[in-house]
Amino acid sequence: MSEIPGGRMASRPLHFIWLLDCSGSMSINGKIGELNFAIREAIPEMQQAARDNPAASLVVRAITFASGADWHIAEPTPVEQFTWDDVHTYGGTDMGAAFRLAAAELRTPPMPERALRPVLAVVSDGQPTDDWRSGLREIDATPWGKRAVRVAIAIGDDADRSMLKEFLGNPELEPILAKNPKQLVAAIRWASTVAVKNASTPTVEGDKHPTSPLSSTDQDEDVW
């Protein structure tokens, strides 16, 4: 087969950013440990989703938020090289700070103009303790932030689901509620794979976005 004329060809990058709640309440009932476990468990499936979609070069980053927010993994890391170092709890729930960190990376530059829609996946078990709305506005003001595929996972009944719904930005969508470790694993796995597939399909006005992955037949006891 002869080489195609023209310039260099390349897959488009797909940026996946975890925004993870590391507030003190995440240490209650082992939530932070289950979160670390769930993300680590999801990596092989995320890698498989990337292999199934060779048109996307999936790169992963992670932000943690508690008292302020920090990049847990700052470098966009190709999913094939992605490993998980455990996150730890350290204070409040400054989700707005996490949104601002993400927003700074969703501008062009540093984001390229040629890319697939990024995925923003928020996991939280509580109420934000800072001005999260201004942070969300910063995300919405960026060209990629307003187009991002958004996923929100609420851990337990204490999570601020109305706030997470606002983050999703679509009245038809609800945050995924995980009330036990099994549901958290399913939610993280879903966010890691289905949201990636969703990011690489074209969008038309009125399109629906990802729906909940959790089965209503899940019989595990609610612990959160």
């Binding site: 004329p5 023209g6 310039g7 390349a10 060779p54 697939l116 399909t201 038309v204 629906k208």
Partner: protein, 288 residues
């Protein structure tokens, strides 16, 4: 016919079937060409978009053939160009309306949601996204070129030097958002380009679904592709390019992941003229 046609289409990696559709054929008794590509949106929300893409091409080409006959009949008379220009502007309403009627009829007869009871027009219209598609089309005669574009995809013109330009490009396409023939008053979203040939006509016209341009790392690499294909047709012949086209599109689809379709029309090389005793008044190589 002094034009060479190219037509190729491949299915995206990992997809069971293509949701692209295309056409490239003579019209107006050989006095014109009609070209079209359509890209069904795919994904679960648009699971009948292969039908939508096919209908978009069929309804466009039917409307475009009427325009092509008019363009051949009136195109040599400059005073009639305003009539043709008005026809170019009204064509989107025609083909979008025809597509819509066809999709509504199909939806009524074969409900995409499995409904068994009769549904109102409003309810049927809500199901049109199932058939959503883009459409890129063109009519070429010896005197003029007209292009229409609804949603993503590309039209590239090669000027008489072989340099590429994309007259309907709207700049970087962030996030794969696209207009669609299924949207309300979709004809309003159709972009048009009208080019009467007052100088030398273009050397070629290429229409493609976005799977092709998105496979290149840079936009300039895609335009370079168009220029090199044009040069290859001129130097090595259209048959040579045709024999390689599917392989090229498959390479592109591996990078874009999308169904990838290209149609093109190229001015056929003109055989060397016998020694002339007078200088030709028109350098145009395209003929009625």
């Amino acid at each position: 016919m002094p034009w060479e046609l190219l037509e190729g289409s491949v299915t995206g990696v990992g997809k069971t079937h293509s949701q692209d559709s295309c056409a490239a054929r003579p019209a107006a008794d050989g006095g014109a060409l009609v070209l079209a590509v359509a890209d069904g949106h795919g994904a679960a929300a648009h699971f009948r978009s292969d039908l939508g893409a096919r209908w978009a091409v069929e309804e466009f080409t039917q409307s475009a053939e009427v325009f092509a006959r008019e363009a051949v009949r009136l195109g040599s008379d400059v005073s009639k160009w305003p009539i043709l220009r008005a026809h170019v502007r009204s064509l989107p309403q025609q083909f979008v309306h025809r597509w819509r009627e066809r999709a509504l009829l199909h939806e009524s007869n074969a409900p995409s949601d499995g409904a068994t009871s009769a549904r109102s027009l409003k309810e049927l219209e809500k199901r049109l996204p199932v058939y959503g598609s883009t459409l890129v089309g063109a009519v070429v005669t010896a005197r003029l070129l007209a292009c229409w574009q609804l949603g993503d995809g590309d039209i590239v013109l090669l000027d008489d030097t072989g340099a590429a330009q994309a007259p309907l490009s709207t700049g970087p396409d962030i996030g794969d958002e696209t207009d669609s023939i299924c949207q309300r008053e979709a004809w309003r979203a159709v972009r048009t380009h009208w080019l009467p040939f007052t100088g030398r006509p273009p050397r070629g016209v290429l229409l493609s679904t976005d799977g092709l341009s998105k496979s290149f790392a840079e936009r300039s690499g895609f335009l370079q592709f168009a220029e090199e294909v044009g040069a290859m047709v001129a130097e090595q012949g259209a048959a040579h390019v045709r024999s390689r086209l599917t392989g090229w599109l498959e390479q592109a689809a591996r990078h874009s992941g999308d169904d990838t379709t290209l149609v093109g029309a190229f001015a056929a090389p003109v055989p060397p003229a016998p020694p002339a005793t007078t200088t030709p008044t028109s350098p145009a190589t395209w003929e009625d």
